[in-house]
Amino acid sequence: MGLFDRLRGGWVYEDDADYVIVGTGAGGATAGKVLAEAGHDVLFLEEGPRLKTKDRPRDAIGALSGSMRQAATQTTAGPVPIPVLQGVCVGGSTAMNSGIIWRMPEDVREDWITNHGLASLVDEGELERIYETVEEDLEVSPTGDDVLGGNATLMRQASEKLGLPGKPMSRNAARCDGKGECLQGCPGEKRQSMDVSYVPRAMAAGARLSTLCRVEKVWIEGGRAVGVIGSKMDRHTRKPLGRFRVRARHVIVSAGVVHTPIILKRSGLGGLVGHRFQAHPGAAIVGRFAEPVRMSYGATQGYEVPMRSRGFKLESLSLPPEMLAARLPGVGAEWQERVANLDCYTQWCAQVRMEAKGRVVPGPFGPLVFYQPTARDLAKAKEALVLICRMMFEAGAVEVYPGIGGIPEVLRSPAEVDAVEAQKWSPAAIHLVASHLFGTACAGANPGRSVVGPDLQSHEVAGLYVMDASVFPTNMGVNPQHSIMAVTYRAAEQLALRGGARQAA
């Protein structure tokens, strides 16, 4: 704690614990559950509120402003801003994602072992055991035909007609009843996001949870982490009410790929903190059908076409009406005619494994994410989006809306798709959105090339751990939640063993 903190004093909240965990997303909740069930004293600190499912708004405005960081207006910096979506509530992004579950691809695991020295972290046998445990805990199963809904079913038809490797998605929502409201919070708590699964399980084992606590830095004494310092936030205005501090034997930072490096930098860590930001930015295409598709019924995301060898994955993605309407072309009567038939549309998106690497740095109004896709990345995105246009016509679409600058707003035949493919697309033309984020506090055996070691402990500060997707040295080409959980599960188990019996901080 610096002189400024000592002089300032006036703590509105003080606490102590064996383990303080900053964040309750896939990484933090998993670490907390493992440590609490091993008998340790765990305290979760979450910047956002705990949202009861019954109180979560069902409209998009309420959903975005109540549970997403900066009401989903956080973007990358630079000439072509890309929205960066992150949850800020108990459960983190798992409380609004579609619960898609993918194990870490074997080529990624081998790369992490060979090039980053992470053999102990991603040991094949250990990961297999953890995957099975997590999949059982979170009720992981393929999306059933009864809840695929019209949007995903049409994608399946197109995929089968074109001979593409499509399949129903595996999700942590075995009891899904197809309400299509993952973004707003699953109405029946069928999706096993962290707020309804591992956080409650950790608390049943004795963990404590303090919400609306924004951690600003790690409290370091004598080169060792001894706690965290931050601000208690007002539930409604999200403005600071006063400062707090928590003493702990171990500090685990799981604040997400954008905010973890900011906390580390504020705490005096340097080196590669904030570097190697990576993502799977995506874009979506909308198609209009003559008959009702009924996007409002079915899993928010139910069907996917993984094409990792091409560098992308296609997914069905149902949207709330507010967001769907914004994607339809036209102004005045033209738009009013299109939005009068909101049950006749599909939307499918492409998630692209991009090679671009960016950087997260502190800015005057919050973190700044510098990230710019490369020309090869944009070529992959173009290939994926053109394929979606073809799939939509194959499924019977009467109009396709690419939503890409500089090309026609409405396509009415496959021949028009050929023409669009032949056109040059401007780098700013594709409206990308990034929700799968990686890097910024990478793990590795070599301290000169990484921020944390294979046990996810900081190379610089003893007792400080990072457990979220920040530690991923590369992106993966598949949805990351399951890999985040597996890696942090493994590191937390090792930490629990080393941490010994329960001990007061």
Partner: protein, 153 residues
């Protein structure tokens, strides 16, 4: 997000430009009734927790489109002084503008208009969006006192 009185007038006019309200709705069009949508209130609610840069971007967008009649040479007046036909024509022009910044900020206004419009329960009900769900499961949307929606079985 605080708006000046002239920003509120422009905002209302811009959002109504995308879907002009009418007392006598035309067949096959989704037409709000006059006063049915609280554009300004919903806009402020939506942007209350937005990032400072996003808030700045919203103000810039409102001014850019609000003053578009002047800088495009359409009329020496704010957007709210245009008639319905001119509003639609100008928005179409802005959405196709050769300058990417103009096009993107105009599109941002359309996104916001869609959010406020379809965040209004009565408009959502008329859009047909929930038809599929109603057939699969007996779900209704009830409007709460604060204007938000709640599902009831």
């Amino acid at each position: 997000m605080r708006l000046t009185w002239w920003e509120k007038r422009w905002l209302e006019a811009i959002f109504e430009g995308f879907a002009p309200p009418r007392a006598d709705a035309a067949e096959g069009l989704l037409t709000p009734e006059p006063g049915e949508v609280d554009h300004v209130g919903r806009f402020a609610e939506m942007n209350e927790h937005a990032s400072p840069i996003a808030k700045l971007g919203m103000h810039v967008a409102v001014h850019l489109v609000g003053l578009a009649p002047v800088w495009t040479g359409t009329k020496l007046a704010g957007f709210d002084r245009l008639d319905e036909e001119a509003r639609v024509a100008l928005l179409e022009e802005l959405m196709e503008h050769p300058f990417a910044l103009v096009k993107e900020l105009s599109w941002l206004m359309k996104v916001q208009a869609a959010m406020t419009l379809f965040g209004t329960p009565s408009i959502r009900a008329r859009s047909g969006y929930d038809r599929g769900r109603e057939e699969k499961m007996p779900v209704r949307l009830r409007v709460k006192k604060d204007g938000s929606m709640k599902e009831v079985a």
